[in-house]
Structures are given as structure tokens and as C-alpha cells.
């Protein structure tokens, strides 16, 4: 973070009203993002925000940078072209759970595995908001929606587990109420060279109100979330009395008092095995892990294209129109 940034949050706030519903979790995500952008010290001209379709995909209109609001599910495919065409830009993609993981699921897989250098903010409210309340690929089994009046019959995707499964290089989860953690994660996601997937548990007050209460409400959050901090023991609970230990190949919740302290797992963001292990913490037996699961370095596809083109230019000389036209077997008449 650049403590002496010459930019202020206000520099990233454009004219015009923000048109999300009152109480929408997207407001806090937008505000934290604008703060982080200002703190990077980079000119607003150097950011490109790209989105697909959905409530959260209005995001680019609300950030005073370059913005492209595109079509449903395709933000990552479009961002791929933008980033490869101009690796100098800081590319950010805003997406919802339906946009990014249902209609855009295929692009998500390939963007992760290519390790495109960009920040992806996945605003996960477990519902389709803009189409007014149908279930999404992250809706919990049994959730009643307009298209599942007796409850959904599908298991949800866990975006963190999915991204880890694709060898994502930066995988994090936070909530729309965890301001400090969210801004720390967003700044680290910006600084990470590679595909930074930040899942933000976000409340939709209209169609799925309270879906993330366990993780966000004051009364419940301490007992139902595990804050991952690099080098720190995995201890949680209002009274710091619960911990995570290893039980075979699965995590297990225990009382701190009942175990030898050395058994309590210590978080290590560089340990991809541990990341996968923690991704198993889904469902009511576990607290919801928040924080950075993994950060590791790997080549990014935008730089790989740059490097391989430079190598070919070095090897063959810079291509000219003349040698393009005259290459191969030619003859004179």
C-alpha cells in the first residue's frame, strides 16, 4: 500500500447515482474498492473495470476509471483480451455468482488456469437478483426460490474450493461486513501478480436477506467464522476456545482445552496442500474460513505472450510487411 498516495477515494467516484437497492452489500464492496484503488497510488486512467450482467455487474459504471459493462457471463473472456492486449493496465472484473459460475463457468475455469493477472471480485449473494430471485449455483441445497418453490435439489459450488482445484494462485474469501479484512485482501489481490479470486459473501436484502448472517452478524460471526492469518494458529470463537486440528485427511473442530496446543493447525498461505485441506470446510460442521487461503507465484499468461513474442522478434527479427508478404516459396514471372 502506498501510504502517501496522491489519490483519494473521491477520485474514483464518478458522477451519477449508484442504483443498487438500499441496504445492498454491494455498496460496501464498492466503497472499499474505491479506497483501495486510491491507496494504490496509480492513476484512475490505468484501471480497467470489466463486468458481465447482473446487479454486481453495474460496478464499472460506479468506478471512475475505464469501464466496460459487457454481456452475461463473458467478463473474464473479454478481460482476457484486454489484459493480453495491454498488460500495463490493472484489470479488475466484477461478477456475481450466477454471472461468474453459471453462464460464465467455462470462462472462469480457463481464466484461473491461465493465471491471468487480474483481480476478480466475486460478489456472492447466493441468488439471482437482477432477474428477481431465482436460485444460483451457490444457493444452498433446499433454498426456496421462485424457480425452486419446494427448495433446490442441487449442491452449491464453493468458489474457493473450485479455484483451488484449478490451482488458482491467489484465493481469498471475505464478507461485505468485514471492512478491514476486505480492504486488506483487495490490496493484496491488486499486488498479486496473477489471477486473484476474492469471494465476497454479500447480502441481497431483497431476494436472499440474511443468507450470510452466520458469517456476518455480530451475534454469530465469531463462533461461525475462522479468520485465516498467515503464521497464526487456527483458533476461533467468541472466547477463542475452539480450534482446527487434523483428523486424517479432514479438518476437525475441537475445544482448545481438549487438545495439545501443538496439534492446532497453523495457517500457511504458501502451502497449497493446506489450502485444499481447508477448502473442505463446507457445511454446518465447520466455521466459514475467511482470509487468504493461498498465495503463490506462477507465470501469468499475459506476460507469457509478451515474453514469447519478444523471443520470436529476437530470433527472427521484427516482422515487416515486406518479409510477411515474401516469405515461403516464391517465384518470378
Amino acid at each position: 500500500m502506498n501510504a502517501e498516495s496522491k489519490y483519494k477515494k473521491q477520485d474514483f467516484v464518478p458522477d451519477g447515482a449508484v442504483k443498487w437497492c438500499a441496504g445492498c452489500g454491494d455498496f460496501s464492496i464498492l466503497a472499499q474498492t474505491q479506497k483501495v484503488l486510491a491507496a494504490t497510488g496509480r492513476s484512475p486512467d490505468e484501471f480497467a473495470f470489466i463486468s458481465g450482467i447482473g446487479c454486481s455487474s453495474r460496478f464499472p459504471y460506479y468506478v471512475n476509471s475505464y469501464g466496460y459493462h459487457t454481456i452475461h457471463g463473458r467478463a473474464l473472456a473479454i478481460a482476457t483480451g484486454t489484459k493480453i492486449a495491454n498488460p500495463e493496465l490493472s484489470v479488475w472484473v466484477a461478477m456475481g455468482d450466477g454471472d461468474g459460475l453459471a453462464i460464465g463457468g467455462n470462462h472462469f475455469l480457463h481464466a484461473v488456469r491461465r493465471n491471468l493477472d487480474m483481480v476478480v471480485i466475486l460478489m456472492d449473494n447466493q441468488i439471482y437478483g437482477l432477474t428477481k430471485g431465482q436460485f444460483s449455483p451457490t444457493s444452498i441445497r433446499g433454498q426456496k426460490t421462485k424457480t425452486a418453490p419446494t427448495g433446490t435439489m442441487e449442491d452449491p459450488i464453493d468458489p474457493v474450493a473450485l479455484t483451488l482445484g484449478l490451482n488458482g494462485t491467489f484465493v481469498a474469501r471475505t464478507t461485505d461486513r468485514s471492512m478491514k479484512q476486505m480492504s486488506e485482501i483487495l490490496m493484496r489481490a491488486y499486488e498479486h501478480k496473477g489471477f486473484s479470486m476474492v469471494q465476497i459473501l454479500q447480502n441481497c436484502p431483497i431476494f436472499n436477506d440474511g443468507a450470510h448472517d452466520l458469517a456476518t452478524a455480530k451475534a454469530t460471526r465469531d463462533d461461525h467464522t475462522l479468520v485465516l492469518e498467515h503464521g497464526q494458529k487456527m483458533i476461533f470463537g467468541k472466547d477463542k476456545d475452539k480450534a482446527i486440528v487434523r483428523d486424517g485427511f479432514k479438518p476437525k473442530v475441537v475445544n482448545v482445552a481438549d487438545v495439545n496446543e501443538a496439534e492446532i493447525l497453523v495457517h500457511d498461505e504458501k502451502d497449497s496442500g493446506l489450502g485444499h485441506f481447508l477448502a473442505q470446510m463446507q457445511g454446518s460442521d465447520y466455521p466459514i474460513p475467511l482470509g487468504v487461503f493461498i498465495e503463490r507465484t506462477a507465470p501469468t499468461i499475459d506476460q507469457e505472450y509478451r515474453t514469447s513474442n519478444d523471443a520470436e522478434i529476437e530470433r527472427l527479427g521484427k516482422g515487416t510487411l515486406n518479409n510477411l508478404l515474401h516469405q515461403g516459396e516464391t517465384w518470378k514471372v
Partner: protein, 613 residues
Amino acid sequence: MNDTIKIQELDQVVIRFSGDSGDGMQLTGLQFTGASAVHGNDVVTLPDFPAEIRAPAGTISGISGFQVQFGSKKVNTPGDFPDVLVAMNPAGLLANIKDLKRDGFAIIDRDTFTAANIKKAGYAEEVDPLSPEASLHKKIIAAPITSQTMAALSDFEMDKKSKERCKNFFTLGILFWLYDLSPQYTTDWLKVKFGKKPILAEANIKTMTEGMLYAQNSGFFQSQYRVNSAPTVPGTYRSLTGNEAAGIGLVAAAHLAGLKLFLGSYPITPATTILEEVAKHKNHDVKAIQMEDEIAGICSSIGAAWAGDLAVTTTSGPGVALKGEAMGLAVITEIPLVIVNVQRGGPSTGLPTKTEQSDLLQAMYGRNGESPMPVIAAKSPADCFWQAIEACRLALKYMTPVMLLTDGYLGNGSESFRIPDESELPKLTHTMVSDPEGYFPYNRDPETLARGWVKPGTPGMRNRIGGLEKDALTGAVSHDPDNHDTMVRTRQKKIDNIANDIPDLEVLQSKDGNEVLVIGWGSTYGSIRNRVAKYQKQGKPVSHAHFTHISPFPKNTLEVLRKYKKLVVAEMNLGQLSKLLAAEFPVEVIPLTKIQGRPFTEEEIELVVDTLL
């Protein structure tokens, strides 16, 4: 030396090579074509691939074909029916003998005509494929090609299979002798190709030489033939398939525009070789990206176009269907983009390796909403180069997606391409702006109606665009009814105005009256041109007009159409251009249609036009 052998001169010859897909027929055909082109002939080729990569050997479904027409004047097409059929096995003979001209001949590899192979090819039991009945009374030259190849290579230390693989060069040698062509082109090629395995170069050269000697001494041929060089424009030439030409044209366009080329694509027959061609040119700083699907192909290109690259996506009809929504995004955000559709037989998977022109209406209308874009079509393999540049010119100048239609026949077919001087190439302009003074995203050039192109990263010009309808000036989201009406009409007008910036429709005019105008577009050019030229030589009132620009039509279109009593529209679909012409102009047209996965023959055009004379 047999000095009784005479040399006869011919104007043009059609040879069809056919064999198992592993027999090297494409290679043999290309080598013959190269030698003929270097000799100065005009050449046009058409490969005919099976849909399977390696269908069961010896069967008809595994036959790979390659046809070349070479001539001492412009030949325009790969020819309808072969003068010479090369059949490396019984299946090749059975599949093609009916097409062989009555006064033509087939050269077969006698060694492959075993009982088992004859059966595999699908001949009825006890039929002798070489009998006059089975060969439809056409002349067959049964040369022992495999055994002669093995004999020629008896001193070479190679395994049997490797020796056998040289047999196509024996065949090539026969043809080189027969058409009095120098084998030098192929000798040079082999030396480069097998630079690291000189024994293979030597073996193939030896086999080819033996083939030439065999042709001379076998007594099969009483005459050699010569096709003199064609009076072409002097210059440097190379042979290009349509897809290679399109790929090179796109890279050239980026040079001409001073931009970087970005090609986001996905493999699909018969378009893939454009992506492969462009991918070779990394030292031109092109980015050829194989994306995860068709939609990602076009979307990555849109993202790159937004970022300031000359962006293109290449595909075939099924891919265009998938790209429809994204094309609409390019229309409404007025982003320069070229979509190349190398058409194939449809609908659905259809005939992937065969040719058709049935995506014209899809190109015109295959998107939601009022979503106009320029549509242009290449008329020959070499023309794919020129139209790729033209598509880029329009996209950049008018800030619009442009559809370039070619097809499998053009994409895979090849012809001699005269390498243009750089001064012959158009200058490509674009609308990139970097001055924030008075800038709005939908400020338009008063003449072209194109909006300014602003690369993200440009200081002080931040803006936000998207697929929602935009205010006609500021680019802010607008749901205002009048604004939408204005924007829809403006986008249409911008495309319509391009009519002022494209060449007039030209006519190959008959001196003998305006009875019939044969109209075509795209790849039917060669067959129509050849047949109409013959009518004109015969003093018949038949003329030819061929569309390159279809959306918009050239300004003089109605003026041209009105001059003729009868308008025949020949196309490889059920009459799609006919529909467009009839809808746009107060004229009646007679559709002449064919949907067989193959180009028109001259005879098929004649069958209809004759009835109108």
C-alpha cells in the same frame, strides 16, 4: 530414348489425385501445383478431405482427393471434371471414375489392385475394376507403381514401409514427364524438407526420377503435353490457400493500420488454418490466442479491440451462431472487429469438410435487435488476402464489427498470388483519439458517423461503455425512447453510408445485348466467370456481375440490375442473395441453387442459362 514421342500443346489440364488419406495425395498435388506454377501456368487447386482423419484404409470414406487445374490462361477454378485421374488404390478409382472426362485417362497403381483391396473399396464380387464395363470404357494406365518404387530403392538402407511411402513421388515423376515440367521445384523442396534426413530426400528424388524414366520408356504414352505459361502480370508470386491468404491479409492489415493484431479464436473446420497461419507470425507481435470456446474467441477479441488492438475472430457457421450475442455487443459499443466465417455445409454440424454459402442471411441478420454490420465476401483464394484487408479497413474506419465470408472451397483451395508492392496496398485509418477536450464516447465523425476510439490507459479520457443503450452523445446509460430510436437509426445509417466508400458493382458485359445477367457472390466467381466468358465468345447476350460487398450493396446496384431482362442468381444455398436482392430492389430474380457441398460446374450454370436464351 524414344524419339517418336511428340509434344502436344494444351490450353489447360485438370488432374485429380486420389488415394487413402495416408497416401500423401495432398502433398503430391501441392508439389505438382508448385512445379506448374513456377513454370508459369495459372493454377487453382481444391483439396477434398474426408471428414475422418484416418478412416479405414482402402475404403471410399477414407479417400483424400486433390484437384488442380493449370492453364496457359486464367483458369479461375480447379476445373469441373478431370482430364487425368490418379488413383492410388481401387477405392480411389471407384469413387472418381465417373467424373473422369470421356477422353481422359486414369493412372492407377496396379500393385494395389489385390482381391482384398478391391473388395474393401466396395466393388461387387467378381467385378474386375479395370474391365471396360467397370471403368466405364475409359482409358486406364495400370502402372506397377509400388513395385517399381521398391525396385528403384533396392539399394537404399531403409525399411520396407519407408520405401513404400515414396511411391507418390513415382507418380509425381510420371506426371512431370507427361506435362514436360521440371522436377527442380520438388527436388529443392525435398532437400529442405529432409535436410536432417538426407536419405529420405535422396530416396524420394530417386523415385521421382525413376517415375519420369518409366513414363518415357513404358510405352504407355505416345505423347508428352505442354501447357505454356500464362500471360500474367509480371511480378513475384507465391501459392496461397484462401485461409493462408486471409491470415496473411490480417497481419498485413495490422501493419497498414499501425496497430497490433489480436486474433481470439477456437478450432473449427474449415477455418482453423487461419488461426494456425496467424500464430506463425509472432515476430510481427501478433497475438493469436486459442480460447476455450467460440464465445470466448470473440469476447477476447472484443476485449482486445477495446484495449486498442486490431481484433479479429475466425470461425465457421456453427461458431458464428455462438458468437451472435457478442457481435451485438460490438455493434452497440461500436468497437472495430472482424469476424471471418469460413462457411461449410449446414445446418448444425452439417458437412464440416464441404463447402456451402448458406450463412449469408445469418451474417446479415443472425443477431438480436437491429444489429447491422458490413458483410463482404471473398471470391477466390488469393482474394481472401484483399478482403481480409478490406474488412479491417471498414472495421477501423467506421468503428463497427465486419463479417467477412469465405468458404471451405476458398479456404482450402489455392492459387497463385502475385505479391503486391507495398504501394498497392490501401492505407488503413482508425479513429483513435487522445485529446480530452470536448470528448464524449459517442461523439461522431460527421461524415463516417464513427465514434472516437479511446484506449483504456489514455490520460484524462476515462469513460464507461457497455451493452445497455447509450445516450447519443455522452454515452451514459439511457432508457429514453427517443434516444433509442435515434441510436438504432444512427447505427443503421452508419452502415448504409459505407456504400459511398466501396467500389461500384462491375459487370463482365456482353457485346451482344442485355438478355441475361448471371449474378454471384463469393466463391462461385470462377465457375460463373468461365461459363459467361464462353457465352460471350459464342456471341450470346450473357453478362456476369459479382458481389464482394453485400451489406451495404454498392451504390450502382439497382442501375446495373435494371439493365438486364433476366437476372439469374447462382449461389450454393436455397437462394439467400436472391431474397436480399428481391427485398432491397424492385426486381425479379431467378435463383440458381445447388447444395451439394461442392462448387458449381459450368454445366450446371449452362443448364439454367440456356433455357433463358
